[in-house]
Amino acid sequence: MSGATQDNALKGSGATRIIIYTVLILFMIFYLLPLYVMLTNSLKPLEEIRGGDMLALPKNWTIEPWRAAWSYAQIGVQPTGLKPYFINSIFMVVPAVLISTSLGALNGYVLTKWSFRGSDLVFGLLLLACFIPFQIVLIPMARILGILGLAGTTSGLVLVHTIYGLGFTTLFFRNYYAAFPTELVRAAQIDGAGFFQIFWRILAPSSAPIAVVTIIWQFTNVWNDFLFGVSFADFDSIPMTVALNNLVNSSTGVKEYNVHFAGAILAALPTLIVYIVSGRYFVRGLMAGAVKG
């Protein structure tokens, strides 16, 4: 989304401009309101929330809900807070993202610079795999993870996320490398450089932009996944999203809304930070996933 502002702007009076800005601001409120409500109410004591006004700033500021959400709120049967699940998610996300991105890079390299008879078919199969509803793989996957001894483990989830991320990572790198001059690869080949040498010396150094896009895309998807987590995880591998859902839905007795909000923000924080720090790349990934370039 780099293009300069175009000349197709409506030539309108001051009144038109006011209407435009009003609509834009109303929608800003619409998008920001839930975040604002969660944030302010996570800093209020529970009585204040029950008492009423959800839009008001806290009268008695407190960070107790955050401490509870992080380290001692009841999740399922354990009063552990979200911390262990946050760590589970990290241990799941980091390897899954790195492995699927590396494989995607190599796949993209082969598909564009070393294509062979049948490589288009392989790409077609990988591409179509991006869109399957994951419900279709839940039953056999549960069985295979059991057979492999990975049921309920973080390694099992890493495997699952790596496999179902391959389609997109390959797609991203393939589209990027397709625009990379093949003559450079051929020239290096004539000079006697091998398959991996060419990848490392020539393609890898200029792959930073697409690597960032791919890593952000994979990170967001794996971190935010719920279905695989709820289907295949056990106590010591449950990811953050599933733990958050347990926190919100399982608390017996009093519903501690402020703790729920603090927990929800904690679960959203990693992807939000990534988005704030590198929003440009995030958008590029979304678009690449939607419109094959």
């Binding site: 409506l10 800003m28 959800m54 399957i132 279709i136 793989v137 999203t241």
Partner: protein, 291 residues
């Protein structure tokens, strides 16, 4: 010798991904398809029953609810997200000074997990504590908004939360499309005396057809897959009023021990998605080849 090795190396590099996807995607699809034709209950069984599960599926009230809900949800979600996305993109394209500040605000919900979105909206829409209660506090005693607790309206709250999450992304797609429109065409129209919204209605919006198509494909496939949001927002309730195919599949397979029926519902979901995605991917790849 070395040359032959170099020849095989690319295939060997691609092979692991190929076999993983072949087994874990296409093999699994076949396996689930097979299970959908057996009398599997809690565990897979290999007793062939033909299409009995599918016949049973379409007689189930829950499944019909799920399909009806998907139709309501899908149409409104796609329609409203596209409308808001297009509107915001056009407004943002009017040389807005603070565009760089506004755009990320529209888009950030896309970075959130549906579980987070569901948690936020569940509470916001809860009449006892959220919007309705706040309006009462502010003195608007007759304000009434309890859709999330109402069987007939709960599905629309799922639409609200889903639109909140995705409409900014649709805006980004349309904005990219608008920025790609050739200036000359607009200048020519202006010379011909066309102005303002007429140019948009008659010239620019019709040129956005590929973006509409992409947005439709992305949103439709998200709608069919929608699972987390319903779980977090309504838990499928009240009753089973917000059941969607994805939640149906999960509960029939893993909690009601009707694996055969669950598998057949998964196959129907796959058919729905592929009937949208396959033609799209095919035409995109062909267009890509021609370019």
């Amino acid at each position: 010798m070395i040359d032959r090795f170099q020849n095989w190396l690319p295939r060997m590099v691609l092979a692991p991904s190929f076999f993983l996807v072949l087994i874990f995607v296409y093999g699994f699809i076949l396996y689930t398809g097979y299970l959908s034709m057996t009398d599997s209950k809690m565990l897979p069984s290999y007793n062939w029953v033909g299409f009995a599960n599918y016949e049973k599926l379409f007689r189930l009230r829950h499944w019909n609810t799920a399909i009806t809900n998907l139709a309501i949800f899908g149409i409104l979600y796609i329609g409203i997200s596209s409308a808001i996305g297009l509107l915001l993109a056009i407004l943002l394209d009017q040389k807005i000074r603070a565009e760089g500040f506004i755009r990320p605000i529209y888009l950030y919900p896309m970075a959130l997990s549906f579980i987070v979105t569901g948690t936020a909206w569940k509470w916001f829409l809860d009449p006892g504590i959220g919007l309705e209660n706040t309006m009462h506090q502010w003195g608007w005693a007759s304000f009434h908004f309890n859709w999330i607790k109402d069987r007939n309206y709960a599905i629309y709250t799922v639409v609200i939360a889903a639109v909140w999450q995705s409409s900014g992304f649709v805006m980004a797609m349309f904005l990219a499309g608008l920025r790609g429109v050739d200036n000359e065409i607009i200048k020519a129209a202006q010379i011909d005396g066309a102005t303002g919204f007429r140019i948009y209605r008659k010239i620019i919006i019709p040129m956005m057809r590929p973006v509409f198509l992409s947005a439709f494909v992305v949103l439709a496939h998200l709608a069919i897959k929608a699972y987390d949001l319903v779980v977090a927002l309504t838990g499928g309730g009240p009753g089973r009023a917000t059941e969607l195919p994805a939640t149906f599949m999960y509960s029939y397979t893993f909690t009601r021990n009707q694996m055969g029926v669950g598998a057949s519902s998964a196959i129907i979901m796959l058919i729905m998605i592929f009937s949208i995605i396959v033609p799209y991917v095919y035409s995109e790849l062909r267009a890509g080849g021609k370019r």
